[in-house]
Amino acid sequence: MCLGVPGKVVSVLGSVAVVDFWGVRREVCLDIVDEPVAPGDYILNHVGFAIRRIPEEDIGETLLLYETLMGESAPDDLMAADVRAEIEGAQRRNG
């Protein structure tokens, strides 16, 4: 529960963003992120909330981290499961 997950913002409506996590699109709440967030930005999602807008220069490094953590994981791998749970923390889109 302390590993956030990065995703790319697809659209923003009010305090909710649609965010793409490796092809999975979910809604993420923007109530606690401390910078304006716009489509094309990357955010760090934790339990359904963006906790940080990832600065542009850090995006590549951040995504690589997850590729290392998730790469070649067994189906029951704990880290990979926690990362998937973080993506589940974002809301499925209605309709």
Partner: protein, 374 residues
């Protein structure tokens, strides 16, 4: 044999260089063991998954402290959730919490009896549940400050009248004080978790370092981030330099996320309370402020947990050493239940239940991940 060669690092040369720095600096300290502690399940997962312990010198003891929020949720707190569920209230909980036993029962035990327990991945999903029903929905809010911020945000977002919060949230900095003072642990440095510090900022550790004279290094979660953090930490120990250093600047600033902190402290206040198996931790628990009393399940319902205490605790749990493991004074391999009576499919202690528990992590990634060095 150079054990880093077998690991799937994206930059093995850097990993080898960092591992050799850690080994050299630890030996320069000239004491054995040198014990440093991290307080994050994700750090332990990465250390175990990538076999990092096999690269550490035998003089360096890297231990996981109370970094598993599910594990430190105290038995009476689980009892409150269990009692509410038995009273006919729908209880929404993070999934890891379901099989953690209170004094006698877990949420999954009462679910089997027919109580309504709903697994959610976020506080927002608990609110959505409440919107879809007229029944009372209680969100059993567990986790450290990073997760508490999300709970704070939903509390402030005008949830429906049938929604309330049973807060078992815990706050990490005070328990670091407790562990730092434990004579049996002799922790000489702390590795702090990057994403928690994203919210709190690294400045939060300055007062701790000043009080205890123990360095703190903020580190990320990638194997190289952890090795770099440990290399810096042992240097600070060697140089007797109690300081806070941020080795995860791409994610962590000194101030942290102020907006999130404002949300957190506008909803929660600190109170003392027990952390399972560890100690009473002054200011270790986050509870709803009086302004939010109308959303506090403890004030909305009369929660009868005493009725759960008639049965004696299960006999095996007396042998469980989860508390010593979380305090950093024992490791899972010191436990006579580990891997025998206590396995992920039938856990005895909370550390074998959660994906962030030390025992479950060691069990999944090979039981004794530090034996890979030879």
């Amino acid at each position: 044999m150079d054990s880093t060669r077998q690991l799937k690092f994206r930059d093995p040369a850097t990993a080898r260089r960092l591992a050799s720095t850690i080994a050299r600096v630890t030996r320069e300290i000239g004491r054995s063991p040198v014990s440093v502690m991290h307080v994050c399940g994700s750090h332990e997962q990465a250390i175990a998954k990538f076999g990092l312990r096999s690269t550490f010198p035998k003089e360096l003891n890297v231990i996981m402290g109370p970094g598993c929020p599910v594990c430190v949720t105290d038995m009476p707190e689980v009892d409150e959730g269990v009692a509410l569920a038995r009273q006919g209230v729908a209880v929404a909980s993070y999934g890891d919490m379901l099989r953690v036993r209170g004094t006698a029962l877990s949420l999954s035990d009462v679910q089997a009896e027919g109580a309504r327990i709903e697994v959610v991945y976020s506080a927002t999903q608990a609110v959505e549940l409440a919107r879809r029903t007229k029944e009372e929905v209680v969100f059993f809010a567990t986790g450290f400050e990073t997760t508490a911020v999300a709970t704070a945000a939903v509390v402030r977002s005008h949830p429906p009248d049938n929604f309330s919060v049973l807060s078992a949230h815990k706050y990490i900095p005070p328990v670091m004080e407790i562990v730092a003072e434990m004579p049996s642990s002799r922790v000489e440095g702390f590795l702090a978790a990057g994403h928690a510090a994203t919210i709190t900022g690294w400045g939060i550790f300055e007062a701790f370092v000043e009080r205890h004279g123990v360095p703190v290094v903020v580190a990320g979660f990638e194997p190289l981030d952890i090795l770099a953090g440990l290399a810096r930490l042992v240097e600070l120990v060697r140089d007797r330099k109690p300081a806070v250093e941020n080795m995860f600047p791409r994610c962590v600033t000194k101030e942290g996320n102020r907006r999130a902190q404002e949300e957190l402290w506008s909803v929660f206040r600190l109170v003392g309370g027990r952390w399972r198996g560890i100690a009473h931790v002054p200011n270790g628990n986050l509870r709803l402020r009086d302004e939010w009393a109308h959303l506090d399940a403890r004030r909305r319902f009369s929660i009868d947990i005493a009725s759960l205490w008639d049965g004696a605790p299960p006999a095996l749990s007396a042998d469980c050493i989860c508390g010593d493991i979380m305090s950093g004074i024992a490791s899972p391999s010191d436990c006579r239940l580990f891997g025998k009576e206590c396995v992920p499919d039938s856990p005895v202690g909370a550390c074998m239940v959660s994906s962030e528990g030390t025992c479950k992590i060691w069990h999944q990634y090979g039981g004794h991940p530090d034996l890979g060095a030879s």
